[in-house]
């Protein structure tokens, strides 16, 4: 097994507040509000009315004609409200359900551990009905319009547990005990419904034990390969995984599905088995609470629709903190704690909000400061780095140090693009690959001049699209036109 990696990127050192290998169950909230769009797929109309009685696991929204997957009630109770709320900058309909007496979870019909006896169509139906098919960036392809391609068109399936973010849900917890076997079963199920797909499993190379065990369990698999990968940020991105593992070029700006590749993470594969083998609808998530502002860094099993307020109650330390979803580099701020958890949550990060000024900040020895350069003592020690939201320096003109080009995972030169952005936003930017940027924000992080490169690039991209630049323009020169005909979903090429 050869270790795979990519050029650029940055291996984040251990930040304080990594989730420990401990999992608890969140107590039931008195009410849940369930967003009508979760994960991949368009928004659905609820099929229940205010006053309806619903059971746990009951489908409350479903539309076979839209690219979507059904949504379930995560508790038993009574629908008390259906209203629009602002959820991650979108107006979304939410169904609020008051928790009543639990009458057990509805199981999906036909699910069985002997799933290999089921026809593909039935498995796909189970995946669809359970809502699992909406997981990850492009959903899991089934014959029920759950992704932009069908299952037979999938050429490569990438499953990854790279753990390249600053905080990662522990693989040891996810794959503990029976879960490891469930995970393998999950892979088999996916192999069955995607007959043409080669399966690639990318794993953090530091998790040697799990890697060895998986290797043993999969010796008989055909069309299956395991890659240990270096957990450099942002290895977990589709755009980086595809070239690293498959050596294929990525159609930046489009999705992996456009070239017949599906990328899933470990939790999604586990859910696949739970849906097909055990008939469980997708109403729960394992979320890890990370970062120094939590009293205890643990994993927590939580029902979809639980409000953050309920989930985080008494778990945060005093003092101002910033709560972030999923990623320290790109995650959204969770300012409104009344909003619910949905299927896409995997980490909730809380770090201290620090506008405090430090005496001679630049001259600190820095035992707990993370830095791309090696100018802090922390480079030579293994102390945990303490994250906070201070800028740690003032914005200065770019000194052309080249750090940003060195770390950029897609091999563009952020400072060069930034220079051209200042000269005016026009098609020239396409030439330097602005649309290749995957918004990982690593360049902003490492810049000693604190130039907000990531934001500048993002703003420029939005402007470019507004003035009518087609993203595919920057792909054209890099791809063979022949390959282009095979592009699914890419329409406007010329």
């Amino acid at each position: 097994m050869k270790v795979k990696t990519f050029s650029g990127g940055y291996k984040l050192k251990r930040f304080q507040g990594q989730p420990q290998d401990k999992i608890i169950e969140c107590d039931l909230p008195s009410e849940v509000s369930i967003p009508m769009s979760q994960g991949f797929g368009s928004e659905l109309l609820p099929s229940v009315k205010v006053g309806d009685k619903v059971s746990r696991g009951q489908i409350i929204a479903c539309d076979d004609n839209k690219t979507s997957s059904p949504i379930h009630s995560s508790v038993s109770g009574i629908v008390t409200a259906i209203e629009k709320k602002n959820y991650f900058k979108r107006e979304l309909t939410m169904v609020t359900i008051k928790t009543g007496a639990d009458d057990g979870c509805l199981k999906l019909e036909g699910a069985t551990v002997r799933w290999d006896k089921l026809p593909n169509k039935k498995i796909e139906e189970l995946l669809y009905k359970s809502g699992v098919s909406s997981l990850d960036r492009e959903g899991i392809p089934t014959s029920f319009k759950t992704s932009i391609i069908g299952p037979e068109a999938v050429e490569d399936l990438i499953i990854h547990g790279v753990g390249s973010e600053a905080y990662n849900t522990s693989l040891d917890i996810l794959l503990a005990g029976r879960n490891l076997y469930n995970f393998i079963e999950g892979i088999k199920i996916l192999m069955k419904i995607m007959p043409k797909a080669k399966v690639h499993l990318a794993f953090n190379k530091e998790k040697k034990k799990i890697l060895e065990r998986i290797k043993k369990l999969t010796t008989k698999f055909t069309n299956f390969s395991i890659y240990p990968v270096v957990p450099k940020y942002p290895q977990g991105y589709d755009e980086v995984l595809v070239p690293t593992l498959l050596g294929k070029r990525f159609p930046y700006g489009y999705s992996a599905a456009n070239i017949g590749i599906v990328v899933l993470n470990i939790q999604a594969v586990l859910k696949v088995f739970e849906a097909v083998g055990q008939g469980k609808p997708l109403i729960e998530r394992i979320v890890s609470l990370c970062g120094p502002s939590f009293k205890e860094n643990i994993h927590i099993k939580v029902r979809v629709g639980t409000s953050l307020e309920h989930l985080l109650k008494d778990r945060l330390k005093d003092g101002p903190c910033r709560i972030i979803l999923n990623s320290l580099f790109t995650g959204a701020n969770l300012n409104n704690l009344s909003l619910p958890v949905n299927r896409t949550y995997s980490q909730i990060i809380a770090i201290p909000e620090s506008s405090q000024r430090h005496f001679l900040a630049f001259a600190r020895a820095g035992m707990h400061t993370d830095s791309f350069s090696r100018t802090f003592l922390s480079a030579a020690t293994t102390t945990k780095k303490i994250p906070n939201t201070n800028m740690r320096g003032d914005e200065r003109p770019c000194i052309q140090c080249g750090y940003c080009s060195e770390v950029c995972p897609v091999a563009i030169m952020p400072t060069l693009i930034d220079r051209y952005i200042k000269l005016g936003i026009n098609e020239n930017l396409l030439r330097y690959g602005i649309f290749n940027c995957i918004e990982c924000n690593l360049c902003t992080y490492v810049c000693p001049s604190k130039v907000l490169l990531g934001q500048h690039l993002k703003a420029a991209k939005i402007k470019l699209i507004e003035i009518g630049c087609d993203q595919s323009l920057c792909i054209v020169p890099r791809f063979d036109f022949k390959e282009f005909d095979e592009y699914k979903g890419v329409k406007k090429l010329r």
Binding site: F15, R322, L328, F329, T330, G331, I351, S355, R357, H358, F359, L360, A361, F362, A363, R364, G366, T369, D370, S371, F372, S373, R374, T375, F376, T389, N390, M391, R392, G393, D394, R396, P397, I399, Q400, C401, G402, S405, E406, M413, L416, E427, L430, R431, Y432, G433, N441, L442, T444, Y445, V446, P448, S449, K450, L452, G454, Q455, L473, V476, P477
Partner: protein, 358 residues
């Protein structure tokens, strides 16, 4: 600390209120930021690297400390006066410009102000230091729009200017360094005994100075350029902490070595042997501290390889074939001017033009 905070707060209010002083606010701001860092918070990403420009510059200065102390040891306490004059006058230009342009005051000068005295001959009159640093900062940096925009290394611009404007001084200022005991640490300046630098010695008499005296600095040369062990250590330190890109010094020194190796075989009268070339003059200092100045070096990595190699070739040619025995300075200045073109070339190759038909 609290006391200092109070003083700064009061001064800040005072400066802001007083109309006559209002324009000096950037100076106050820079001082304030220097001592207390920032209170701004991040947007995205939510965390930031601990490194900032202040730390970046401080590390270059730390790496220059051995060479500076050695300079004082070899050439007496007067060196400190030279450094002080350089900082004072250069700082003045910097402040004037930031006030006139109403722009914040940046840290770049902290390094220039120290590098400049270190590349001067030890016997330099103080007034000439002042002229040099003012010229260098003005024409090397400010006319281009300040830190980050300059094409030439300001310290080098100043140095070359005074050596061209007052050439007659430059033959007589190479004093013999103190050697042994406490050296210059307890003396103000060496006696007026001057001697030729190793490079001049080679040029005029084909005399090769011993390697150990080159390494330890007992042979005459510029203030900070002769203690080569210290320079090597400082340079390697900067490479380890990732402030200096290793590509430039490596390609620079390697190409000097290779070219002078062959040059010495075929034309031993013009080209000194490789090791002597490496250890003489300002080569090591230039390779580690001046050629690597990120603002004036190319941005692309392949460009940096080209830049370094061309620097080496130019240096050897200047030294061997022209009267300017100290070829490093001219080579770096010349390549500073070429660096943007190298970058453009590399970028043109790497990012193909998008044809209008697409």
């Amino acid at each position: 600390m609290k006391f200092l905070r109070k003083i700064l707060d009061e001064t800040g209010k005072f400066v802001k209120k007083t109309p006559a002083l209002k324009r000096l606010y950037p100076v106050f701001e820079a001082t304030d930021e220097f001592f207390f860092g920032t209170d701004k918070t991040t947007i995205l990403p939510h965390v930031m690297d601990g490194m900032d420009i202040k730390r970046y510059m401080s590390f270059v200065i730390i790496a220059l400390v051995p060479a500076t102390i050695a300079g004082v040891y070899f050439y007496g306490l007067r060196v400190l006066a030279v450094i002080a004059v350089s900082y004072a006058f250069g700082g003045l230009v910097e402040v004037t410009f930031s006030v006139c342009r109403r722009k914040p005051l940046y840290e770049g000068f902290l390094v220039t102000g120290l590098i400049f005295p270190l590349i001067l001959p030890p016997g330099i009159p103080l007034w000439m230091v002042a002229i040099g640093v003012v010229f260098g900062t003005l024409f090397g940096k400010e006319v281009f729009g300040g830190t980050g925009r300059n094409i030439f290394n300001p310290a080098l611009v100043g140095r070359v200017f005074i050596s061209l404007a007052f050439p007659e001084f430059f033959t007589t200022m190479w004093q013999k360094p103190f050697w042994g005991g406490l050296g210059g640490l307890i003396k103000f300046a060496p006696d007026a005994v001057t001697s030729a630098t190793p490079l001049v010695n080679f040029k005029s008499a084909h005399f090769l100075t011993g390697y150990s005296s080159l390494l330890f600095g007992s042979a005459p040369g510029s203030i900070g350029e002769t203690f080569r062990i210290g320079i090597l250590l400082g340079g390697i330190f900067l490479i380890i902490v990732k402030i200096v890109d290793w590509r430039i010094p490596l390609s620079f020194l390697a190409s000097v070595f290779i070219l002078s190796f062959f040059g010495n075989i075929f034309y031993p009268n013009e080209f000194a042997p490789p090791l002597f070339q490496l250890l003489s003059g300002g080569l090591l200092f230039g390779a580690f501290f001046m050629a690597t100045d990120p603002v004036t070096a190319p941005l692309t990595f392949s460009g940096r390889w080209i830049y370094g190699s061309l620097l080496g070739i130019l240096t050897v040619l200047f030294r061997g074939l022209t009267g300017f025995v100290e070829g490093v300075m001219f080579a770096i200045l010349l390549m500073n001017a070429v660096a943007p073109f190298i970058d453009n070339l590399i970028i043109d190759i790497r990012f193909k033009k998008i044809s209008s038909s697409a």
